[in-house]
Symmetry: C2
Subunit: 293 residues, 2 copies
Amino acid sequence: LVRVHCVGICNTDLELVRGYYPYVGVPGHEFTGRVEAAPGGEEWIGRRVVGEISAVCHRCPACRAGRGSHCRNRTVLGISGRDGAMAEHLVLPLENLHAIPDGLADETAVFTEPTAAALQIQEQLSIGPGQRVQVIGAGKLGHLVAQTLALTGCDLLVLGRNAARLGLLAGRGIDTDTVDRLKEDEADLVVECTGNPEGFELARKAVRPGGTIVLKSTYRGLVPVPLAPLVVDEITVVGSRCGPFRPAIELLAAGRIDAASLVAERFPLCRGVEAFDRAAEPGVMKVLLDVAG
Amino acid sequence: LVRVHCVGICNTDLELVRGYYPYVGVPGHEFTGRVEAAPGGEEWIGRRVVGEISAVCHRCPACRAGRGSHCRNRTVLGISGRDGAMAEHLVLPLENLHAIPDGLADETAVFTEPTAAALQIQEQLSIGPGQRVQVIGAGKLGHLVAQTLALTGCDLLVLGRNAARLGLLAGRGIDTDTVDRLKEDEADLVVECTGNPEGFELARKAVRPGGTIVLKSTYRGLVPVPLAPLVVDEITVVGSRCGPFRPAIELLAAGRIDAASLVAERFPLCRGVEAFDRAAEPGVMKVLLDVAG
């Protein structure tokens, strides 16, 4: 049982409230909080934590094969079958919890889940110096993806539409450009973070033959895809979702990922509806809900 | 300059004559022949050969990066900018040629190009015992893909519609079943060889979360793809095209790949139009054109 401190509003939450997912319940999956009760794990009581969002069965073929994040019987905090973090309390299995160091503020630690999702790309693919990597989309997720990729020493370029957002990245020494200046066949690896299907088409243009497109954002419904060019040009498309929490916490705690500048506004939980409206405005970065201090 | 002996009709050729590609010229890219002239490479004269189909520039970024098969300025035998093998003679760069051993008959060696294409899957992905691999489609390409994958020791299942075609594979000790008995989430790797967009949907159903779909066949136009499930289930989609000729020749020469049983019918070149009609009939395997003996 976790007393919630702080919750981030993510694009998935915005899609949930628009009815794009078949979920009824409390939303919220990016959180920090303090453990209040922990039957069988009393040493956790009082610890400040973040938590992995999938609660898994340990019995299905996916779990037995060590792929718990794809458990067939999983519940997902605030997304599927389990009430989420936009409430005074939430419940997760003990095994999902990660303690966070005292020096790591709630408003930074709350970025653990999306930072872990960004790091998942590096779990799936080997990325390093010499590789030409482009990130398409400079929103909340694009920023975290760009910052985590920059740590690999790859030859990184972020393409976006919003000058202010691109400026934030440029200020961190990351090359940026506007999407209308995208060059075809230039990237070994393209990470699609726009959240809209045109982003996939831009990624297809940017990637070189034999290259890889990572899909980080989801779009509703069917997208018309020219599959034949993927075959002829031998493109690999990699779906990428949740990632490892521990390195995310370490990077945030060490200040190697700047999350603070991504916070657009903070609201108390009682103004949650207003916060969602704000988060849904174009160009707005991360909106946080403060539940308890 | 190669005197052509034998040419295979491939699905790409059938699509060419239907006008699906912007190509005008002599079709044919699966061939065997004998070198008649070779300026600067006289040692090739008289040798029986097969040939890689892309003639590359060695100057563009793809060539300089060692990815000649994706050369931006390439011509492709019988497919793009270069007259193909359904003629008495064809011309290819010397570097494209591979000599074939005396014991390897033309009607077997002519399968080098599609066998190489099947082997490309193993160039792109590591496949071996313990992996559950499904091939969807038991046509010409599906047969070669299945036979090459069987050599890896993987746990292989081929799904098709045509009992006779599946029976051929079963006779070689390969497990088969009908596509209507496809089980969801069962395969670590699915190779799509059907040549139609429903095959992609079947592949999506068959692959487990975190698994890989290899696209070997091309379909015309746009295919409506639900991209979000690819992200949520972290599916990887790999486009796969041409492959390595040398191991293909060795496997065919050693009799480890059975190509002979895939030949449906042979026609002389002068009956080429009739041969194309025959090759386009449903369920017909490889049709060969004999140009010269």
